[in-house]
């Protein structure tokens, strides 16, 4: 499936450190148009940091980031902003605007989209229905549970039907049914919008369901990438440990010290 399709997103020898802590140590990764890539890896390996590089929320220490062939960091801030109209991103904790209602949050990306107020209302409701939260529009983000905030953040990310979607652990910490619903929604969006999707998740069943390709990020490198079937049957000991969820193995041996907490503190 690969060769014919152009690269939608590409990072080249990406390096990023926070203080002494090296998080990304030369990442090369390409996501083709319409492809769904899932990035997996232990907590604290910098998956979120990598995801934020795709949309230019993190600036690499060195290396290049391309969106549709354009190097993000060669653009002015005004051009970068225009480029981001292609993106929708769901953040780990939702990152909802707490000065607004849930409805206003989901409607936010539709503000200057040329839709009529009635169309905006319909689209917002459609997105809230998709994440199984049809009745929370009038609430404030502070009144929602963590899982609900995450789902509203997801609804906000897809509201303007973007070409590229970045999901940072969209279904972590949700009940098994909602976890699967979110995976279904991602699949649905893919069919509907033919969007390019990059998802971070720990949940292997979801990863297998939504991914055309799985990449294991570990130790600042892409340790292994392959389509789901190959990924699951890989003999790479690190992949085996992750897939089987074992406490002991190469991931935990090499992975001493650099925890997510340290990354956050260094930031």
């Amino acid at each position: 499936m690969a060769a014919a399709r152009p690269a939608k997103l590409r990072v080249e020898s990406l390096h990023k450190s926070f203080g002494k802590l090296v998080v990304l140590d030369g990442i090369d990764l390409t996501v083709e148009a319409g492809e769904s890539l899932v990035i997996v890896g232990p907590s604290g390996t910098g998956k979120s940091i990598l995801l934020k590089h795709f949309i230019g929320l993190q600036r690499p220490d060195s290396g290049r980031v391309f969106v549709d062939g354009q190097n993000i960091w060669e653009l002015s801030s005004i051009e970068q902003n225009a480029l981001r109209k292609k993106f929708g991103m769901a953040f780990q904790e939702g990152a909802l605007f707490d000065s607004m209602s849930v409805y206003q949050n989901v409607a936010f990306p539709l503000r200057h989209s040329g839709r009529s107020p009635a169309q905006v209302r319909a689209r917002v409701q459609e997105c809230l229905d998709l994440v199984q939260l049809p009745d929370v529009g009038a609430k404030r983000p502070a009144e929602l549970s963590g899982g609900m905030r995450r789902r509203v953040g997801f609804a906000r990310a897809i509201a303007h039907e973007p070409e590229i979607l970045l999901f940072d652990e969209p279904n972590t910490g949700l009940d098994p049914i909602t976890t699967d619903i979110i995976a279904e929604v991602i699949l649905g969006i893919r069919r509907q919008l033919r969007a390019t999707i990059v998802t971070i998740t720990h949940h292997m069943p979801s990863a297998l369901k939504i991914g055309d390709r799985l990449a294991l990020l570990f130790g600042g490198h892409i340790r292994f990438e392959a389509p789901p079937q190959q990924f699951m049957t890989s003999s790479d000991p690190a992949v085996r440990q992750f897939v089987e969820g074992r406490a002991h193995g190469p991931l935990t041996r090499e992975f001493e010290g650099s925890t997510r907490k340290e990354i956050l503190e260094a930031r």
Binding site: G56, L57, S77, G88, D98
Partner: protein, 257 residues
Amino acid sequence: MTTRLLEAVGRAVLRLLEELGRFFTMLGRVLLWAPQPPYDLPELVRQMVVVGVNSIPVVFLTTLFTGMVLALQGYHAFSKFNATSLVGSVVALSLMQELSPVLSALMVTGRVGSAMAAEIGSMRITEQIDALKALATEPVQYLFVPRVLASVLMLPLLVVVGDVVGIFGGYFVAVHLLGSNPVTYYENSFEHVDMNDFTSGLIKAAVFGLIFSVVACVRGYYTTGGAEGVGRSTTQAVVVASLAILLSDFFLTRLLF
């Protein structure tokens, strides 16, 4: 001992330069984004209410009592040289040129600058700033431009209020407590005052508005380290902005008079 002292001085200089760099970078970004469409007029008006209208009580009280104290002290001092007829002028001039702009700016910094830094800081640590960017909404344009514009526009208006209230406070003390002749006091008040004295105070106020709002935005934007970090940013915003206002006041006074 000497090395440690030099290190401390070096660190302080570096921090000062870093702060200055961030200030002017942010100012540049605000100027770059201010003319870009879309324009968010409702948000600008909202911020003008927050910065301006809601600060009227604080500015009113501050300048009222400042005018009253000026008249009281001026009267005692000038009575020693038999020059009490000058009290009105001194009150009006010091208020317009110096006290109304500086005190209003310091009060607004405490009231509004701290709130701005705290709001933007908590948006930063909860990834709301990142979320804005990810939704193709530049935080500089969406958050900072209306705040800075509102501050630059509203602080001069607050100073006009302060001038009027302060001069009235001086008049009240001089005439009703100290027994000056109301007509002579009133005439004396404006005898030595020209338009330039009034407008220079407004220019100062606009610059102070720019300083405190940009400092608050910078401190909020670069917040790190959770709730504690937000607290730190808020304090720093008020301290840095207040010092910058007092420092720049000296240079503005040299420049304007």
